[in-house]
Symmetry: C2
Amino acid sequence: MNDTHSPWFYRRCQVLNNCMAKRADILVRFGQRVRELRKEQGYSQENFAYACELDRTYVGGIERGERNLTIRKIEQIADTLGISLSELLEGV
Amino acid sequence: MNDTHSPWFYRRCQVLNNCMAKRADILVRFGQRVRELRKEQGYSQENFAYACELDRTYVGGIERGERNLTIRKIEQIADTLGISLSELLEGV
């Protein structure tokens, strides 16, 4: 093995290979998770947006996998669902 | 109980009360979690930034709780650490 590269170089290749080989886009996966939990708790999209203090069209965009939202917005959603961030991202 | 408000109104108040009563800022909590896991895996901040394909000063900002990062960046960090998003956000 050509060891001119640092271990971090190989770590980076490993991460890249992992990423490319797998999963649907994170935004799509997160959107599906939010929709699933929202419906489980009986919210319409409109009521959920109101409870989250987010715009309804923004929630629609999240669920369609179009929003690269920030960790603050993720926390807003988790708080509204009454679950932890870790639970919200379970399986995502 | 004055029921002119929808159940979602009360849900929103509940969420607000919960939020204000508790936790340090999400950015600070997440930064501490990243630092903890980075150190556990033996990365320097510089090596970790390289492996994540993020700028070192950006990683420094994350760990100081100054960055409201997006879910894509969170995934980049989780992938580099070789853990799920849910594990990365455990306890945050």
